[in-house]
Structures are given as structure tokens and as C-alpha cells.
């Protein structure tokens, strides 16, 4: 069954590692080109960009840790004995958990009964208890684990910090996957439409216009109803909905490049069209792709939160900032107000989106030869 294949740990681990290897290879290839090396030095001079990059790396590391995982032998809850199959004697494995889960286990294991404020020692809402004198009174009951919840706990006593951390992967996967799906479409259709013009251009433009005339929310809602809710579905839907903008941008830039003298010189030399696109057009629009990708990444993260809030995002079993904000909707109406879940989701989102934008700006400046 494909669903179990995609959900199996070995597939996820393989996928994550190959993505990492791909990124490392790309970085290595780029580092050998002087153009990119200069850009890198330029970025290094910008302190804000370096700080942003470090924060982004932190987020990335958490997402990677949350994406690789393994199954462990099931143990007896009391004796700690490894469970074995009664007939075959094989070790029975549990559902498995990600590396992040294992790291966060000490915190997430500390379950409270219900809401508690960040770093509180007692319950947030008073409960009725008998005083030593036998009178019923409203007291703030002491927590099971005082001062150990950095961002408090939610309605069922789960640690909010752990939830926010677990949501990082969702956000980053949405941002990355959407981009990875959208860029090849935009690149192929955008450059082809711009370079060849004629009917290829017309066809691409019609598709783009049709796609961008469907309201994004409705399109994604329809997509999720047909294919079911889930992280990959959402990323695919958002990818399809968002490649048209980049495609138009690349088409415009290609039309401009098509008329530049160096492309004309290559044409006059008799270089075939596909080769001109690969050698002259694509490298000269790469910086545009990179910039839009970085800037788009943050808007995708925010969009995911919005879609989940609207109930058409990732399913209820996946933790995400959108889901957290959705929960917080009811909590905000309580008296006294439960503010930390919203604050946690908000802080974590800003912590990702703001550095991403700052870093995107720095990359754009570094790649623009006029600003060097």
C-alpha cells in the first residue's frame, strides 16, 4: 500500500537524506563558481543576513530531526522487558518516533491535567478543593511538574513548546515542497514561452491565466476534498496554485534576455535553441528563481497556517501552527484569557518568516551585479 510506503520510516529517512545530499551537492557546485562565491562573501559581510541564516539553520535542523526516525522495540511498561512475539519470538517494534520526539520526550512526558501558564507552578484555573477545615474553596492546584513548561500547557495538559517545535517540520515541508513542485514548472514553461514565443507562449499564457483566475482558497478546498487532507496533498495543491506567478516573471525576463546581444551572438553562431536556453537563459534567471523562492517560502508558511485555520489544511493528526491558532480561537474567548498557545505559534512563525525574508533580501542584493 502506497500510503504505508510514504509513511514508513525508512522511506522518510531516505527521502530526507537524499534531499540533504542534493542540497549539499548544489552548495558544493555553486561554491566552485566565482559568481556565487562572491555573492557568498557579500552575504557574509551582512551581519543581519548571517544571524538570519543561523536561525534558519536552527529551524532546518529541527525539521530534519523531526523527519528522520526509527522504531524501537516495544517494552513492558513496568518491567522494561522487551516484548517478543509469542510464537516466532521476534522482537515487536513500536510505531516509531522521530529523532525530535525522542529528544523532546523528557518534556512531552510531563503531562499536566489541563491549562497552565508558561513556567507556572500551579494550575491556571482554580479548582474546587476541600480545605483542611473541611470548607470547599477555590484553589490553584499545584502542577505535577512545576516550572518545567516553557510555553505552558494546553487544554489536555500537553506542553505547548513541544507542539510548536513539532509544527516546524510542517511549515518547512510546506514551504519547501511547494517550491520544489512549483519551480520546475515555472522554469520550463516560463523560459520556453519567453524564448520561442508564438503558440507555445499563447498556450502557456492561457494555462496561467486560467489557473490564476481560480480563487486559491477554493482551488485548495476542492483539491483537499478530492484527494483527502494531508501534508503532501496540501503542498501539491499550493504548488499548482502558485507556479503561475513565477512563470510569468521568468517569461518576461526571458523575453528581455532573448533580445540581448549575447543571446543574439550565440544564435548567429548557430547554437541550437535548447542549448541557448540551458547555457544563457537559465543561468541568467537563476537569481530570480532563488529570490522568489526565498521570499515565497515565507508566504507559503503563512498560507499553510491560514488554510489549516480554515479547515482545509493539513489533517487534524498533523501538528501545525495553523492548527495551534485554530485551537487558540476558542481559548482567546475564555476568561481569564489563554494567550500562550497563540503567542507560541505566532513567535515561532515570525521566527522563521522574518529571518527568511531578511535572508532573501540579502541574497537578492548579493546577486545583483549593479549593487556590488
Amino acid at each position: 500500500m502506497p500510503a504505508t510506503l510514504f509513511q514508513s520510516w525508512w522511506f522518510q529517512n531516505l527521502f530526507t537524506l537524499s534531499l540533504l545530499a542534493g542540497a549539499a551537492l548544489l552548495a558544493w557546485r555553486l561554491s566552485r563558481r566565482e559568481y556565487w562565491r562572491n555573492a557568498f562573501h557579500e552575504i557574509c559581510r551582512n551581519r543581519l543576513a548571517v544571524i538570519s541564516f543561523v536561525i534558519l539553520c536552527g529551524y532546518g535542523a529541527i525539521a530534519v530531526l523531526d523527519s528522520i526516525g526509527w522504531r524501537r522495540p516495544l517494552r513492558h511498561p513496568e518491567t522494561g522487558e522487551i516484548a517478543r512475539h509469542p510464537e516466532t519470538g521476534k522482537v515487536i517494534l513500536d510505531q516509531g518516533a522521530s529523532a525530535l520526539d525522542y529528544l523532546l520526550a523528557p518534556i512531552s512526558a510531563k503531562r499536566e491535567k489541563t491549562y497552565s501558564a508558561p513556567l507556572a507552578t500551579t494550575d491556571y484555573t482554580p479548582t474546587t478543593a476541600m480545605s483542611p477545615t473541611g470548607q470547599p474553596q477555590r484553589v490553584h492546584a499545584p502542577l505535577a511538574y512545576p516550572r518545567s513548561h516553557l510555553l505552558g500547557t494546553d487544554r489536555i495538559g500537553q506542553d505547548v513548546f513541544c507542539q510548536a517545535c513539532k509544527s516546524i517540520r510542517t511549515g518547512i515541508i510546506i514551504g519547501l515542497l511547494t517550491t520544489i513542485l512549483a519551480v520546475p514548472f515555472a522554469l520550463i514553461f516560463g523560459t520556453a514561452a519567453g524564448y520561442y514565443g508564438g503558440w507555445i507562449d499563447d498556450a502557456t499564457q492561457y494555462v496561467c491565466t486560467v489557473l490564476s483566475s481560480i480563487p486559491t482558497v477554493l482551488f485548495i478546498a476542492a483539491f483537499m476534498i478530492i484527494f483527502g487532507q494531508g501534508l503532501p496533498q496540501l503542498a501539491l495543491a499550493m504548488g499548482i496554485a502558485s507556479w503561475t506567478g513565477l512563470c510569468r516573471l521568468l517569461r518576461g525576463e526571458t523575453i528581455r534576455l532573448r533580445e540581448t546581444d549575447f543571446v543574439l551572438a550565440a544564435k548567429a553562431m548557430g547554437v541550437p535553441s535548447w542549448r541557448i536556453i540551458l547555457r544563457h537563459i537559465v543561468p541568467n534567471v537563476l537569481h530570480l528563481i532563488l529570490i522568489t523562492t526565498v521570499i515565497r517560502f515565507s508566504s507559503e508558511v503563512l498560507a499553510e497556517a491560514a488554510f489549516t485555520y480554515l479547515g482545509i489544511g493539513v489533517g487534524a493528526d498533523t501538528m501545525s501552527w495553523g492548527a495551534m491558532i485554530n485551537d487558540a480561537r476558542t481559548e482567546l474567548t475564555r476568561e481569564p484569557i489563554i494567550w500562550w498557545k497563540l503567542a507560541a505559534a505566532f513567535t515561532f512563525m515570525v521566527g522563521l518568516v522574518l529571518p527568511a525574508n531578511l535572508f532573501g533580501d540579502a541574497v537578492r542584493d548579493a546577486l545583483d551585479p549593479r549593487l556590488r
Partner: protein, 668 residues
């Protein structure tokens, strides 16, 4: 230097302007001093980066935000305009001192009528009431020689030609009846015939109103014909000032002397141009001593350490040089002047009836409603080892013709026969590919003709990978090293990127890229017009050397008649898509037969004394090729046009085996 400041309208002394770049300051103008008398035309001449425009902008308080005036005064009618507060300076700038800019295309707002824009100036500066404004706008437009001024006042800028727009800019500048007009490269973006009209207009205004003009330009020939006095700037300093005659007959500074020699003209045929080595230093380059010393053939150790002071050689002739009296080494004669007179057996390129028509489509279904006849039937033959110049103003189709030859423009009809065998027109693109290497092209703009993301090696190798796929990478490397040495660049250039090279060096790279595929014909599309004069001379010399060495044929597309007369054996003059005159360079330059050729030659400024030449001015602009005039295309601008010219296309008339022109009434 100026002894009686009260006589002068503007006295600039010790002006120093620097650009702030981070913490460091880069001096863009160093100790500039000059003065203008009322009604005088002073030319500030220099190559790119000499600081001439910045000097002018500082007078109007228009410096970019990161530029600062560090020292100096500029007394205008007794007040130092540099020291004035912004509010008081505004009362002078734009009113007493007005400026015309280089680009008439961008200096006007495209969404407002020209009448409104001139009216705005009148309103802002002169508080003229509405009714008076309208009349004054028409007056001004009449003054600058715009026909139907009432009509034109309600036109939008895009409805006017470049020359007309420049006239509107001059009208705006004149609105305040300024005492001083600063013209920053006022004719650089215009055609020669239009340039002549605009310069005539400026001279007339000067005579009529006594307006002093500060002409900023890089065009020495123009200065020779127009200015009273000249200040030559080099890399931020004024190196020589003199009366116009003095400067051109007795130049003192080695830079001026070399610059004058490096301008190509008929006299230098068969010689090498005295190219100044290297290129103009950038303002941020630190050069101790004289800034010209690194390029100066006379430089002594003293020049490299001590900056020369400005001194007077004669009254009104000052120079900043230690060695103003030392003679320069003589110009080298061209080694390979002698040529076989016997023409080679087959022409390398034979073009007959070449037509490039661009369809004009309109409506929902893009029906073709007409054609822009960019090139409308031209014939020429190119023999190995010779240079044919295709001359004409912008819009005459010369560049399109060149592009059609290399397959960058669609050919409507005609044949392009290579080596007397193959007709390229009609060949399938795949069949055409092997012939692409025969005809190569060098482009005008050295900055856009190289892919910024490929190394020079990758750029040069591209053509070889297509046309010589058999070469091993070692052989290719050797060949590239040869080529790069041949065009005069260091061997390590192959690993570097285009942005590390200057304009002249990039043009050399473009040449190397073309030569890599062993072409027989190289089409040079205005390939030196974007370069500084001193660098242009280097490239022209290089083109000549390579022609002798490799037997290349050049199709030299240009509007610069000086370059043509220096380089070309034959000239074809184009007007609106047709060749109107065709002949040996000497024939066409000395006895032009077509009225257009004659006017073109008369309009182009030269370094020779201008007195003897007839003043022949073409009225109007080049008509649009969308709707060309009937009969002879030239008749609306032609002084000798008669009825037959309006109806019948002129026949081709031959005057010698080589010289022909298409005209009903050729000039004798």
C-alpha cells in the same frame, strides 16, 4: 587663472568633488578651474569618467546624494552658487543657469503634453499668468524652430522625433532667458544631420540672446566646429585650456595631442592610429603624480611622483603637464599597406535584392495589415580582405541588414551567396548551421554582448563546440590561448568573467569569440561607437591588423564617417532601407553624387578647419519606414527634388565602374 573675474559670467576655481563610498572618499573632480564670458561657448571635453558631467551638475546643485563638493567656488554674477543655500540656489538654477540633458527620450514626462511641461516651467519659475503662459509656450517653440508650434504644444513627447524632443528641451531651458546654458552631450543621442540642426540652433540662440553655453561633450570634432574655447578634462582634472584654434592647431598636453591623433579620418589611411595604451582610469584607482602618466609615452619618473601644476603656456592657453614641449614619437606607418590590386577570383559574399520586411499585425486575429520595410532590396558584393562600410542614420536599416546576414532577422526576399556557391536564403535552419561560421558579427554594446555568467573561456569555446566538435579539449585550449593573445589580452583572461574587463577589452573578447570559428566575413555593427576615442583607436588598429593577417572581409556598419574614411575601401550609403550611393571611399567622400550623401558629409563635424566646407543642412527627420515617402524616399528632405522624384523611384546611375547612385538628379 582668470585675471578679471568681473568680466566673466561664471568663474569656477579649485572645484573638488568626491564620492562617498562607505568610509572612503573617491575624488571625481580635482581642482577644476575655468571661466566663461557672457555669450561665449566653452566646451568641456573629456572621455568617460573624466568628471565633466559631475562638474556641470554641481553648478546646478544636482549632484547625486553621495557626491560632495569638498572645495572650490563657482562665482556666477558675483555670487558663489556652491555656497548658496538650496532655496536661493533654486532661484538661479533653472532660471539664470539652465541645462539640457543628453537623453531627450527620458527627460520629458511621457504622459504630459509638451506644452503643459513648458508651461509648468513658466509657472514655477516666472509666475506667469495662465493666458500669458500659452502665448509664451508658442513663442518658445517658434524660437527653437518647431514647425506648427500651436499644434505641437498639444502633442505628447512620443509623437515627436528625437531632434524635436531635444528642441523642446532647449525651449524649456530658454524659458527663463538664462545667461548660461549648460548642454550636457546635447546631440550624442541624435543623428548627424539632426545634430547639425541642433548645434545651428544653439549658435543662433547664442548670437541672438548673448547666452553663454557650456558645452559638455566627448566629440572633439564637434568642439572644433562649434566652441570658442576648450577645456580638456582627463580623469577628474582639467589638463589643458585654450582657445579653440590654439587647441586644435597647437595642442600642448600629451593627452590632447594623442587624442587628436587617435581620431580616425581620411588623413590617417594607411597609418596606424595613435592609440593611447590602456584605458581611462576609474575614479577609485589611486594614481600618484600625473593621472595620465601610466598611459603617457613621454612619462618620466617625475610624472609618476609629482602632479603637474596648471601653468600658462601663452595667454589663454594653460596646461597641466611637466612635458608640454617634448615632441611625441611619430605615428607608425601601417606595415602592410601595399595590397594586391588584382581582385581575388570569387567574392566571399554576394548579396542581391535583400529584403527584410517585418509584418505589421493588427486586430484580434493578428491579420497582417502592412509591412515595415526595414531593408528594401539592397545589393552589394564583399571581396576577401576588404572592408565595405554600410553608412546611414538611425532607422535606415543598416543594422537590420547586418542581422539578416547572420540569420537574426527574417529575410523576405533576395539571395546571400557565400563563396560564390551557396545561397543561404531558403536553406533549412539545420542545413544553414555549418555556414553560420562563415559570417560572424560583433555587436555595438560591449556590456551586453557577453554573457555575465560565463567565463571568457566558456564564451569563446561555445562556437568551437558547435562548429569544430572534433577538437579535443587540449587543442581547444591551445587555440583559445592563441586567439586571446591575437586580440591583445593576457592569457589568464580565459578564466575570468566579463565584468572584470573594460569596454575596449570586452570588444576584443567579442572579436575573439567571432574569430574562434574561422569566419570569412565579420560584420561590425557600430562596434566602436560605444567606446572612448582613445580606446576606439586601439580596436580599429586591431581590426586592421587582423584583416591583414587573416584576410578577413569586414562589413562595417556605422554612422561615423571618420571611422569609415579611415578603415573602409568602399562605402554604401543607406537611406530608409535602400542603398542610395555606392562607391570607393575616395569617390564617395570627395565627390558625393547623391544629395543625401552630400548632406551627410556636410553635417558630420570634422577636425579640419570648417571654413571651406559648404553649409548644407537637411531639414526634418528620417521618415518612418512604416510609411515611406513615395517615389524617391529622400524627396521630402531633398533640396533639388522635382515632380518626378515624388512619383518614380530613381534609377541607378553609374559614374565609374565602382561608383553608382540612385537619384534622378545626381549632384556634380
Amino acid at each position: 587663472m582668470p585675471s578679471q573675474p568681473e568680466q566673466h559670467l561664471l568663474t569656477v576655481s579649485g572645484l573638488r568633488i568626491a564620492f562617498r563610498q562607505g568610509d572612503a572618499g573617491v575624488t571625481a573632480v580635482q581642482d577644476a578651474s575655468f571661466a566663461i564670458k557672457p555669450g561665449e561657448m566653452l566646451a568641456l571635453v573629456g572621455e568617460s569618467g573624466s568628471g565633466k558631467s559631475i562638474t556641470a551638475l554641481s553648478l546646478l546643485g544636482l549632484l547625486p546624494p553621495n557626491a560632495v563638493v569638498e572645495a572650490g567656488q563657482a562665482h556666477f554674477q558675483g555670487r558663489d552658487v556652491l555656497a548658496l543655500p538650496a532655496s536661493e540656489r533654486r532661484a538661479i538654477a533653472g532660471r539664470r543657469i539652465a541645462m539640457i540633458f543628453q537623453e531627450p527620450m527620458t527627460a520629458l514626462n511621457p504622459v504630459l503634453t509638451v506644452g503643459w511641461q513648458i508651461g509648468e516651467v513658466l509657472k514655477q519659475h516666472h509666475r506667469l499668468p495662465r493666458a500669458g503662459r500659452q502665448r509664451r509656450v508658442v513663442d518658445l517653440l517658434t524660437q527653437v524652430g518647431i514647425p506648427d508650434p500651436e499644434q505641437r504644444a498639444s502633442d505628447y513627447p512620443h509623437q515627436l522625433s528625437g531632434g524635436m524632443r531635444q528642441r523642446v528641451m532647449i525651449a524649456m531651458a530658454l524659458a527663463g532667458q538664462p545667461e548660461l546654458l549648460i548642454a550636457d552631450e546635447p546631440t550624442t543621442a541624435l543623428d548627424v544631420t539632426v545634430q547639425a540642426q541642433i548645434m545651428d540652433l544653439l549658435q543662433t540662440l547664442r548670437r541672438q540672446y548673448g547666452t553663454a553655453i557650456l558645452l559638455i561633450t566627448h566629440n572633439l570634432a564637434l568642439v572644433n566646429e562649434q566652441a570658442d574655447r576648450v577645456a580638456v578634462m582627463y580623469a577628474g582634472s582639467i589638463v589643458e585650456t585654450a582657445g579653440c584654434d590654439d587647441l586644435f592647431r597647437r595642442p600642448a598636453h600629451p593627452y590632447t595631442r594623442l587624442l587628436l591623433r587617435s581620431i580616425p579620418s581620411v588623413d590617417q589611411r594607411g597609418q596606424r592610429l595613435a592609440a593611447i595604451t590602456g584605458s581611462v582610469p576609474k575614479p577609485e584607482e589611486e594614481i600618484p603624480g600625473c593621472r595620465f602618466a601610466p598611459r603617457c609615452p613621454l612619462a618620466t619618473p617625475q610624472c609618476q611622483t609629482a602632479a603637474p601644476l596648471f601653468r600658462d603656456l601663452a595667454p589663454n592657453h594653460g596646461v597641466a603637464c611637466h612635458l608640454a614641449d617634448t615632441p611625441l614619437p611619430e605615428a607608425q606607418a601601417d606595415a602592410a599597406v601595399s595590397k594586391d590590386d588584382a581582385p581575388p577570383p570569387t567574392p566571399v559574399l554576394q548579396v542581391t535584392g535583400l529584403q527584410v520586411w517585418f509584418p505589421r499585425q493588427s486586430g484580434l486575429f493578428r491579420r497582417t495589415t502592412g509591412y515595415v520595410k526595414a531593408v528594401d532590396g539592397i545589393d552589394f558584393t564583399l571581396w576577401p580582405g576588404e572592408t565595405l562600410a554600410l553608412v546611414g542614420e538611425s532607422g535606415c536599416g543598416k543594422t537590420t541588414a547586418g542581422k539578416a546576414l547572420v540569420g537574426l532577422a527574417p529575410i523576405n526576399a533576395g539571395s546571400i551567396v557565400v563563396h560564390g556557391k551557396t545561397d543561404l536564403n531558403g536553406l533549412h535552419p539545420r542545413a544553414l548551421r555549418p555556414f553560420r561560421q562563415t559570417i560572424q558579427m560583433i555587436f555595438q554594446d560591449p556590456f551586453s554582448s557577453l554573457d555575465p555568467r560565463l567565463t571568457i573561456g566558456e564564451t569563446i569555446a561555445e562556437g568551437m563546440e558547435i562548429h569544430q566538435p572534433g577538437l579535443t579539449s587540449n587543442e581547444r585550449q591551445t587555440r583559445m590561448t592563441d586567439l586571446i593573445a591575437k586580440v591583445g589580452l593576457p592569457a589568464d583572461a580565459l578564466r575570468r568573467y566579463p565584468h572584470q574587463f573594460s569596454g575596449g577589452q570586452r570588444q576584443r573578447i567579442g572579436l575573439a569569440r567571432s574569430l574562434a570559428v574561422n569566419p570569412a566575413v565579420v560584420i561590425c555593427d557600430e562596434c566602436t561607437s560605444a567606446l572612448d576615442v582613445s580606446v576606439q583607436a586601439q580596436i580599429l588598429n586591431l581590426l586592421k591588423d587582423l584583416q591583414h593577417e587573416l584576410g578577413l572581409a569586414y562589413l562595417f556598419i556605422t554612422h561615423d564617417l571618420g571611422v569609415v574614411s579611415f578603415l573602409a575601401e568602399r562605402i554604401a550609403v543607406m537611406y530608409l532601407g535602400r542603398i542610395v550611393e555606392h562607391g570607393q571611399t575616395a569617390e564617395v567622400m570627395t565627390s558625393p553624387r547623391h544629395p543625401y550623401t552630400k548632406a551627410l558629409l556636410a553635417a558630420a563635424p570634422t577636425l579640419d578647419s570648417a571654413d571651406g566646407r559648404p553649409k548644407l543642412r537637411l531639414p526634418g527627420d528620417v521618415p518612418s519606414p512604416i510609411n515611406p515617402p513615395t517615389g524617391c524616399h529622400f524627396h521630402p528632405r531633398c533640396a533639388c527634388a522635382q515632380e518626378v522624384c515624388r512619383t518614380t523611384p530613381p534609377p541607378s546611375v553609374s559614374f565609374s565602374p565602382t561608383h553608382s547612385c540612385t537619384c534622378h538628379f545626381p549632384v556634380d
